[in-house]
Subunit: 253 residues, 2 copies
DNA sequence: TAGTGGTCTAGACCACATA
DNA sequence: ATGTGGTCTAGACCACTAC
């Protein structure tokens, strides 16, 4: 006897810590409330700061916490549900679109985008950068790629400010035949991170969309959503959308 | 003069390291190839192992690497594209379904699930556990919640093995009016992690689906996909699905 | 038994926000 | 100037796999 295998679970400290903190957040803190700083918390739980941080990192990944350098760690509100279609088959930039155009350049398509569009490598594309703001917070940034061949009517000589809207306007002249989407996990590149008010490398949900017209891919977009604050919704049911209003579906993960 | 602000970028080491490794993976390694171990790599780059690990963690998050304790770090294949509907409005468990039933129990619905279903807290639900295997690899695990009220015809006295399939069969008798979905980032709970052959806390994409029938929510499911190996596809275009076959859409994130 | 990745420590310094 | 989270180090030991 002796080693009767008590407490044999061998759960990592940071995992147990995460559970404890998660419960504490539910019972002892309110949304927006600021937590004690990392050094104090680590001392309070009798662990090294790195271990405490491992737990905080996971909680932030799950959308329970928000950390900001120089400020502190706060309790995050429930994730925002953002609709990612298909509300209907509509071109980007249609009326009541959730996005606003930030800029636009014309350049050769990078290789992965060319593959997405099914065009040759060196094809020129208009690249429209847009952003999506919900409740005052930037939640997504997007690059929309439109081959010049898709918008033949586009006038030359546009001011930079008019370039993006003009591309979208020309796009609307085409008959949208369908879309498809893919969602995957990524980490924010420097530029996206800045726009999303996060540090580079922050976890993001990357939504890749292809727009079909004239029997091929007329445009494609890569949208980058903050994974910590967003829940992407795909409202496929025709009628019953109105019934519910984003109940909190956070899981006890 | 003097401090002419050369190299003022101040890019974190792990971030630069990640870039270097990412490029090396493209040019010097093949899919499935095993990398030098972490201690060697850290020494080679002149950084602490923890710093090297920070870079590897991000690359794994992005699906570029796969690490297994006791084995090593290997170059991951491109992410698998898994279809998450709506290929059509069909009940779970229909023919040609990508899922297989693992088990089923009847119990009170946990609070978040009750909210999802729009039922009372203590309502009894059948909980069907299913799993999804693609190319021999488990990519997702799911819990499907069916209120007993949705399947009134279900016979009592079922063997455990027959319970799940029977629930699905009864469900098919209902008229499916619509579905909606949400996708968010989470971390694998212990049980899901085991089923997905990952460690607890691994990043997962959580897909929450509601099935509407008889003017309400007749069932709901929470599916947990491996975020490192999966790209969730939503094929919304009617006709053009066949044209393409999952080009590699990995971005240079 | 040897070698791998996973966890953990106790420090240090830096970048950033705020007062 | 102070306090916060972010980065980094140089170790140590553990859990797991495979030989």
């Amino acid at each position: 006897m002796g080693t009767t295998q008590l407490e044999a679970v061998q759960e990592p400290k940071y995992w147990h810590l995460k559970t404890v903190l998660n419960d504490a957040l539910d019972s002892e803190f309110e949304v927006g409330e600021i937590l004690p700083n990392e050094r104090d918390l680590a001392a309070r739980f009798g662990v090294a700061r790195a271990t405490l941080r491992q737990a905080l990192e996971q909680l932030e990944l799950e959308g329970r916490l928000q950390r900001r350098r120089g400020v502190g760690t706060t309790v995050a509100p429930p994730r925002i549900g953002v609709s990612v279609g298909p509300s209907a088959n509509v071109w980007p930039g249609a009326v009541r679109d959730a996005w606003s155009t930030v800029g636009c350049v014309e350049a050769a398509a990078p290789a992965p985008i060319a593959a997405l569009l099914g065009t040759g490598r060196e094809e020129a594309v208009h690249t429209v950068r847009r952003e999506r703001v919900v409740q005052g917070q930037p939640v997504a940034t997007e690059l929309l790629y439109v081959p010049t061949a898709s918008v033949p009517g586009l006038s030359a000589l546009l001011t930079p400010a008019e370039h993006g809207p003009a591309v979208l306007r020309e796009l609307h002249a085409l008959d949208l035949e369908g879309e498809d989407r893919a969602v995957e996990l990524g980490s924010a590149r420097a530029e996206d991170a800045r726009q999303l008010d996060r540090l580079p490398g922050a976890p993001v949900l990357v939504v890749t969309t292809r727009y079909y017209a004239q029997g091929g891919v007329a445009a494609a977009s890569v949208a980058t959503y903050r994974a910590d604050t967003c829940r992407l919704t795909f409202g496929d049911s025709g009628a019953l959308e109105v019934l519910h209003d984003q109940p909190d579906t956070r899981r006890a993960s």
